[in-house]
């Protein structure tokens, strides 16, 4: 963790190189530890610690209470043991309950939790793959290929990013209905397809492609490579960073999407992605808070993994959107 969270990762690429130099030049003489300074330091740590507790305790409570049975959860609620995990023999109790949870359907033998995870993975996978392919191709055409209409489309893309339009899902549903993508069997397509194209991602890809030297493509063309080949063999490997950034942001957006999913799949528990399925777990009768905590914990794990291992790309993406 120490390595991943290295401070240098927080500095945008171009300043990262300059930073050590500045530090070398402006290195202050070693501070003397006066009593006043020590007291100030202690208060600073106390204050930061209190804040850390405030930010961490709900997450801690969530994870810890997923690791006990619901009976224990209720019994320990009014004592400080509510902040400790249960008996080691019961750590998995609520998780087992969760994976055998039947919700409002009672089709025994099938795990709806497993199905919800599977659905989420499928929806996210298709979304990420589609977003990367469609938006990068469009951006490449807009930045590197001369064809009539390119200028108009570029302006349109920029305009769509700048204008804040209240895009509720109501007109989306109207269009999906008209396209026949709201029937029970086509809803899965209707859930994924509206998010595949994004003016903002086109803009992000375009800004990146513009910075790649033109000579690379000219050389490829002299060698007889077509634009398709040039794009996939030369440009994509050169642009790994931007592909990773867009993939991560798309994945997090798709994994965390809730409102549209709970509308589309409210009557189809077998098609629900994880976030919508949480509602089913939360509404379980009789109420099982420990099991709910287990569901919340599991649905957070993939995002946590992405944040821990892809810090660099996230910070790059954040600072990029800051430049907009």
């Amino acid at each position: 963790m120490e390595e991943v969270m290295d401070t240098e990762n927080y500095v945008p690429a171009e300043t990262a190189a300059a930073a050590p130099v500045q530090q070398a030049v402006y290195k202050k003489p070693k501070n003397k530890w006066t009593a006043k300074k020590i007291v100030a330091r202690i208060f600073l740590y106390l204050w930061m610690g209190v804040l850390a507790v405030l930010f961490l305790f709900p997450v801690w409570w969530m994870v810890v209470n997923s690791m006990k049975s619901n009976t224990d959860f209720v019994a320990q609620l009014s004592s400080l043991r509510t902040f400790l995990p249960g008996n080691i023999t019961e750590w998995l109790t609520s998780y087992i309950n969760l994976f055998t949870f039947e919700g409002f359907l009672s089709e025994t033998g099938s795990s709806y939790m497993l199905r919800a995870i599977f659905n989420s993975v499928i929806y996210c996978g298709i979304t990420v793959f589609g977003v990367l392919l469609i938006n990068s191709l469009a951006a490449y055409a807009l930045s590197r290929i001369r064809f009539p209409g390119a200028g108009v489309i570029t302006t349109l893309v920029l305009l769509l990013i700048l204008v804040p339009v209240e895009t509720s899902i109501v007109p989306q549903v109207v269009i999906l209905t008209k396209l026949g993508l709201m029937t029970p069997s086509t809803r899965m397509i209707g859930y994924v397809i509206p998010s595949l194209v994004s003016p903002f991602y086109i803009f992000m890809f375009r800004s990146y492609f513009v910075g790649i030297p033109k000579e690379i493509e000219e050389a490829a063309e002299i060698d007889g490579a077509g634009k398709f080949r040039t794009f996939f063999v030369m440009i994509v490997p050169l642009s790994k960073a931007i592909f990773a950034t867009v993939a991560i942001f798309t994945f997090m957006g798709a994994w965390n999407e809730y409102v549209f999913a709970q509308y589309l799949f409210s009557s189809r528990m077998d098609l629900m992605p994880l976030q919508a399925f949480l509602q089913m777990v939360n509404d379980a009768n009789p109420k099982d808070t420990a099991m709910t905590m287990a569901a919340l914990t599991i649905s957070t794990i993939p995002i946590a993994i992405v944040y821990i291992f892809c810090q660099r790309y996230i910070v790059e993406g954040v600072s990029f959107s800051g430049l907009k």
Binding site: P12, L44, M62, L77, V170, K178, G224, G322
Partner: protein, 330 residues
């Protein structure tokens, strides 16, 4: 990445062989359009590259705007999409005299006015703390950032369960300390405050990260020079730190405002009824949620579109005013 690589020969071969032979000299056919010279090969490939985005964008980005705009003047409902009639400004008349819409707008503004400055201040405060040269910085940064990893739905369900009247953490602790149990999310007076707290708790770490990278970019030489001139820490903060991070701040402010005005997930999950108070006024129904309800719960697409249009104009006015104010400041 393996997938895309595998596709190269197939797609490349198909279009290059189908449209034009592979050799480069044959790609040099040119044509003129509106007095400009284009290469035919480039045009075909360019259009092929942009076609998927163009088609999907037209259907799922442009068309929803057109639908919102035009259906606002019709009696469209979800069941009668094929028999839509103009009813001119009827929906707008209804909207402006609809106390529920004004209530939803009021609730949203209340949330924005409390949550945005609070979150901005907390995020900046945390970033300033982390910017100090303190041992264990990494741990604290992770700690403050941790809630960002939770989705809005997870955040809502978590807080909802912590604040549950019978089996919740807070009432458990309150009764253990001999204090009266609270109704929390069932109490119209407390619900919005809780939604604000949960949202700020979840979101602050993200803006903290942006602030932190802004603070790290300030030249240490500026502070050096200021302290040589005898400026104290507070003066340094006012005259160096704040002006340096002003562009970052305005960016964060704008994105946070847009996000806050779109509040829907948290109240939808935490207070499914919208929580009517004694007079029947729903205290947590937000504008986005009201638009959603009218369109998808009551299937009244026309009315829903009209409110969405009013809201868009409202948001655009705020965005433009903000931009003007910031331009003056910068």
């Amino acid at each position: 990445m393996e997938n895309t690589d595998a596709m190269v020969p197939e797609i490349g071969g198909q279009s290059a062989d189908g449209q034009k032979p592979r050799a480069p000299k044959n790609r040099n056919k040119h044509y003129k359009l509106f007095g400009k010279d284009y290469r035919l090969y480039d045009t075909l490939i360019g259009l092929a590259f942009i076609a998927p985005a163009l088609v999907l964008g037209a259907i799922f980005v442009i068309a929803p705007m057109v639908i919102s705009l035009s259906y606002a003047f019709t009696d469209a409902t979800m069941q009668t999409l094929n028999a839509v009639h103009w009813n001119n400004f009827y929906n707008f008349g209804r909207a402006f005299t609809d106390p529920k819409m004004w209530n939803a707008l009021g609730n949203t503004c209340l949330f924005v006015v409390i949550a945005v400055p609070l979150q901005l201040a907390i995020a900046l405060g945390l970033a300033l703390l982390l910017n100090k040269d303190v041992k264990g910085n990494t741990f604290f940064r992770w700690a403050y950032f941790c809630p960002v990893m939770l989705s809005l739905a997870v955040t809502s369900f978590l807080w909802m369960n912590m604040l549950n009247e019978q089996d919740g953490l807070f009432n458990g602790l309150l009764t253990a300390m001999g204090l009266p149990a609270q109704r929390f999310l069932d109490d119209p007076k407390q619900a919005m405050v809780i939604i604000v707290i949960a949202s700020v708790w979840q979101g602050a770490g993200y803006q903290m990260l942006i602030f932190l990278s802004g603070l790290k970019n300030i030249e240490p030489a500026l502070y050096e020079a200021a302290s040589l001139d005898g400026a104290n820490k507070f003066q340094q903060f006012i005259h160096i730190t704040l002006p340096s991070i002003l562009p970052t701040t305005s960016f964060i402010l704008v994105t946070m405002l847009i996000g806050a005005f779109r509040l829907i997930t948290q109240p939808m999950i935490m207070t499914p009824t919208g929580l009517p108070d004694v007079s029947g006024r729903e205290v947590t129904t937000t504008m986005s949620w009201y638009i959603y309800q009218q369109g998808l719960t009551y299937n009244d697409v026309g009315f829903s579109s009209a409110i969405a249009l009013i809201y868009t104009v409202f948001l655009a006015t705020i965005a433009l005013t903000l931009r003007k104010v910031m331009d003056v400041k910068n």
